[in-house]
C-alpha cells in the first residue's frame, strides 16, 4: 500500500515537473486581475473635480487632478484587463491542445 502511495506521489511530482502551467490556476489568476482592473477602473475621482470655485489655481489644478487620475487609473485598468485576457487565452489554448491531443494518444494506445 505504501509503495503504491509513494509511486502515486512520484508520478504526481513528475507530472508537476513536466507541466509548467495549470490552465485552471492561470484562469483564476486572470480572474483576480480582472477584478483588480474593475476596482481600479471604478475610481471616478469625482470629489476633486466637483470642488466649487473660480479664479483659484488650486481649485483649477484639482479639477485637472480628477481628470488626470481617472485617465491614469483607466490606463492601469486597461493594462490589467489586457494581461488577464492574454493569460486566459494562453490557458484556453493549452486546454484545447490537451483535448485535441487526446484522440491521437487514445488511438495510439
Amino acid at each position: 500500500m505504501s509503495t503504491h502511495s509513494s509511486l502515486g506521489a512520484a508520478v504526481k511530482a513528475a507530472v508537476h515537473d513536466l507541466l509548467v502551467l495549470d490552465p485552471d490556476e492561470v484562469t483564476a489568476i486572470a480572474a483576480r486581475w480582472e477584478h483588480a482592473a474593475e476596482e481600479v477602473g471604478r475610481l471616478a475621482f469625482d470629489p476633486p473635480r466637483r470642488i466649487a470655485g473660480t479664479s483659484s489655481t488650486v481649485i483649477a489644478a484639482l479639477h485637472t487632478t480628477g481628470d488626470r487620475a481617472a485617465s491614469a487609473a483607466d490606463m492601469l485598468a486597461a493594462q490589467l484587463r489586457f494581461t488577464a485576457t492574454t493569460c486566459r487565452r494562453a490557458a484556453a489554448e493549452l486546454s484545447a491542445t490537451d483535448e485535441s491531443s487526446c484522440p491521437g494518444i487514445n488511438g495510439a494506445g
Binding site: P48, S55, T57, T65, A69
Partner: protein
C-alpha cells in the same frame, strides 16, 4: 489668479480639505488592487517561459500602479495643506470684510474700502488702512494659491505622463531612463553628485522618480531636502495604512497627527495685524518607515538662502515618536529665537527608562530570598535586581553606539544641503542628557560641527578614545545646572557615557543662571532635578539664552558658581558627618551615589554601580 471677494465667497475650501482624504483613499485602493494581483501570481505554481512573461507584465503594472498611488498620496498631502491654508485665509478675509461692513464702510469686490457718509480725516485714514489690510490678506491668499497650485500642476503633469504611456524621464544629456533606473543611478553615484542629478530633471520627472521609490529617496544622503521631505510624506501616508491594518493604531494616529499643520516658528509675531496671520504650516520630516520607537528627523523652521545658523537637537531618555511633542515645542522656541531651523534628531532608539524603575521589584525579590537563604540569598538577588533594572536603561551605552553613526551620516547630508542652499551657515549640535552622549559618540566617530553643546549631558561619548571632529576649530560648550542629579553620573569613574563634559579640556562650561521672571518678576535659579530640563521650556531662562547665543555665534555667559553640583552629598558631609559622625542608612545611600558603589556590610565587596544618565 487673484479672486474678487464674490469669487472668494464661492471657494469651497472645506471641500478641498475633504477631497484630500478621498484622494488618499483612492490611492490606497489602487495600491491594494495591484498588490492583490501580484500576490496571486507570486503564490502560483505557474512556471516556464509564459510565467516569466506574466511576471514581466505584472512588474510593469506594479511599477505604474505604485507610481500612480504614490503620486496621488503626494497630491493628497499637498491638497490637505493647500486646503488648510486657503481655508484659513478665506475665513480671515471674509470675517474682516464683514466686520468692516458692520462698522458702516463699503467694501468693493476688489477690496477697496470707502465710507458712504461725510469723510473726515480719521474715517478716510481708517478706510485706507482697511483697504491695505484686505489687500494684504488677498495677497497672502494668492501667494498660497499659486504656490500649491503650481505644485499640483507639476504632479498632474507627472500623472499625465504616466497615463499616456510615457515610461521614461529625461536625464542630463537628453538620455531617457525609467524612473526605477533613475533611482538605481542615484544609488550608484557619489553622494556629492546626487543632488545635482535629481535637480537637473524637470519638476514633473523629479516627482515621478520620487513616486517610483519614495522610501529610497527619503533616506538617500545627498538628495536635496525638499525632495526627501516630499518622499517622506508619501512614506508616512503608506505606513499609516499599513500600521492600521497591523492593529498598531497608536503609532498610526501619531503619524497622522504629524502630517497635520502645526505652529510655524518663522512668522514674526512681534507685529500684530488686525486680520491675523497664518501661524501654522506643514511639518517637514525625513522618514523612511516605522522602526523601533519611531525613527525620524524633523526640521522645525525654514532652511533658505538667508539662513545663517542651523541647530541639530538630540533629545534624551524617554523620547520616542509618541512623546516627542515636548521636544518639538522646545525646538520651535529655539528656532524662533535663533532665526534658523532646528532639526530634532530621533533617527534611532533612545532608552525609555532611567534605570531605577525596577529596583523596587528587585528589593522585594531580595527580601523574599532573605527568608530562606539569609544574607547569602540577598546579595546575588540584589545584584541581579540592579542589573535587570539597568538593562536597556539610560545607563546602557548601546543606544548611543547605534544612534551616533546615523547622526554622523545626517551631519554630512546637512553639510551638503547647507553648502547648496545657505553657504556659510553654521551648524550647532545640541545633545540633551542621553542625547549628549549620542552627540559625543558621534564626535568620536567623526561628526563635523562648528559648535557643540553638551546640555545636561550624560557624558562625552561611549566609545574609547577622544573626539575626531574634522573641524579643528570646533567650539564646545557644556551646560549643567547645579544640583542636577546627572552630575553624579557624569563624575563616576566608570561612567558608561564617557567623561564629564563640564570638566573636559576644551569644553567651556556655561552658566545656567535663572529662569525667566514669573508674574511677580521673581527669577528662580535653574537648579536641582527640575534644572535637568526645565530651561528647554523657558526661552527667558539664562540657560536657554546661552544655547541660543552659541547657535547664533554670539558670546555666551561662562559658568558662574551658583551652588554645589552635589547638594545632597554636600549637605551630608557638611552637616551630618561633623556633628554626628554617623551615617543613617538612607543618607549613606546618598553618599553612595557620590562615590559610585553600593556599600555592603562587613567583609562583603561593594557592588560597583553603573548609574543611569538621568533623563
Amino acid at each position: 489668479m487673484r479672486p474678487t471677494l464674490t469669487q472668494l465667497r464661492g471657494w469651497a475650501t472645506q471641500s478641498i480639505i475633504d477631497s484630500a482624504d478621498t484622494i488618499s483613499a483612492d490611492a490606497t485602493t489602487i495600491g491594494d488592487s495591484i498588490s492583490g494581483a501580484a500576490v496571486v501570481l507570486d503564490r502560483s505554481s505557474w512556471r516556464g517561459c509564459s510565467r516569466a512573461g506574466a511576471d514581466q507584465a505584472l512588474t510593469t503594472l506594479r511599477d505604474k500602479g505604485n507610481q500612480l498611488r504614490n503620486t496621488l498620496l503626494r497630491i493628497a498631502d499637498e491638497t490637505a495643506d493647500a486646503g488648510a491654508d486657503l481655508h484659513g485665509w478665506r475665513e480671515r478675509i471674509l470675517d474682516y470684510v464683514t466686520d468692516v461692513q458692520a462698522a458702516g464702510y463699503r467694501v468693493s469686490d476688489t477690496g477697496i474700502v470707502t465710507h458712504p457718509g461725510e469723510l473726515d480725516e480719521w474715517t478716510e485714514l481708517a478706510a485706507f488702512r482697511h483697504t491695505q489690510e484686505i489687500e494684504r490678506g488677498l495677497r497672502a491668499l494668492d501667494d498660497a494659491d499659486e504656490r500649491y497650485g503650481s505644485t499640483l500642476a507639476t504632479l498632474n503633469k507627472a500623472m499625465h505622463d504616466l497615463a499616456t504611456g510615457d515610461d521614461t524621464v529625461t536625464i542630463g544629456g537628453g538620455g531617457q531612463v525609467t524612473p526605477a533606473d533613475a533611482i538605481n543611478l542615484l544609488k550608484g553615484m557619489d553622494v556629492g553628485r546626487r543632488r545635482d542629478f535629481l535637480l537637473s530633471l524637470s519638476a514633473s520627472d523629479r516627482e515621478r522618480v520620487i513616486a517610483a521609490d519614495p522610501t529610497t529617496i527619503a533616506g538617500l544622503d545627498g538628495i536635496d531636502f525638499p525632495s526627501r521631505f516630499a518622499a517622506s510624506e508619501i512614506t508616512m501616508r503608506t505606513e499609516i495604512v499599513r500600521l492600521e491594518r497591523a492593529g498598531n493604531h497608536r503609532r498610526a494616529d501619531t503619524l497622522r497627527s504629524l502630517l497635520a499643520q502645526s505652529e510655524n516658528p518663522s512668522p514674526d509675531r512681534t507685529v500684530r495685524t488686525p486680520m491675523g496671520e497664518d501661524t501654522d504650516s506643514e511639518r517637514t520630516f525625513l522618514y523612511t518607515g516605522d522602526k523601533g520607537n519611531g525613527h525620524l528627523i524633523e526640521m522645525v523652521g525654514e532652511l533658505n538662502p538667508d539662513t545663517r545658523n542651523v541647530a541639530v537637537y538630540v533629545p534624551g531618555t524617554g523620547t520616542r515618536l509618541e512623546t516627542m511633542s515636548g521636544n518639538v515645542t522646545a525646538a520651535r522656541k529655539l528656532a524662533a529665537a535663533t532665526d534658523g531651523p532646528v532639526f530634532v534628531f530621533l533617527d534611532g532608539d533612545l532608552p525609555q527608562k532611567l534605570g531605577y524603575e525596577g529596583l523596587g521589584e528587585g528589593a522585594k525579590k531580595s527580601w523574599r530570598s532573605a527568608v530562606p537563604w539569609g544574607l547569602a540569598g540577598v546579595v546575588p538577588t540584589a545584584v541581579d535586581g540592579v542589573n535587570d533594572s539597568l538593562r536597556d536603561s539610560a545607563a546602557d551605552p548601546r543606544f548611543a553606539e547605534e544612534m551616533a553613526p546615523r547622526l554622523v551620516a545626517f551631519g554630512k547630508s546637512l553639510d551638503t544641503e547647507l553648502s547648496a542652499v545657505a553657504p556659510g551657515a553654521t551648524t550647532t549640535y545640541v545633545g540633551h542628557s542621553y542625547g549628549g552622549s549620542v552627540v559625543g559618540t558621534a564626535e568620536q566617530l567623526g561628526l563635523r560641527a562648528d559648535r557643540v553643546v553638551y546640555a545636561s549631558s550624560a557624558g562625552t561619548g561611549v566609545l574609547e578614545g577622544g573626539w575626531h571632529n574634522p573641524n579643528p576649530d570646533v567650539q564646545r560648550y557644556s551646560l549643567t545646572a547645579p544640583g542636577d542629579p546627572i552630575h553624579y553620573s557624569q563624575s563616576l569613574p566608570d561612567n558608561p557615557h564617557g567623561g564629564d563634559p563640564d570638566d573636559t579640556p576644551g569644553v567651556t562650561r556655561l552658566d545656567t543662571g535663572y529662569h525667566g521672571p514669573d508674574e511677580n518678576g521673581h527669577r528662580a535659579p535653574v537648579e536641582g532635578l527640575a534644572g535637568h530640563g526645565s530651561y528647554w521650556n523657558d526661552p527667558g531662562s539664562d540657560a536657554f539664552g546661552n544655547i541660543v547665543k552659541v547657535i547664533r555665534g554670539e558670546m555666551p555667559t561662562a559658568y558662574v558658581d551658583r551652588g554645589s553640583d552635589y547638594p545632597i552629598a554636600a549637605t551630608v558631609e557638611d552637616v551630618l558627618v561633623p556633628t554626628t559622625r554617623f551615617f543613617s542608612p538612607p543618607l549613606a545611600a546618598a553618599i553612595d551615589l557620590a562615590d559610585g558603589d553600593l556599600n555592603l556590610p562587613g567583609p562583603l565587596r561593594d557592588i560597583k554601580l553603573r548609574l543611569p544618565g538621568l533623563g
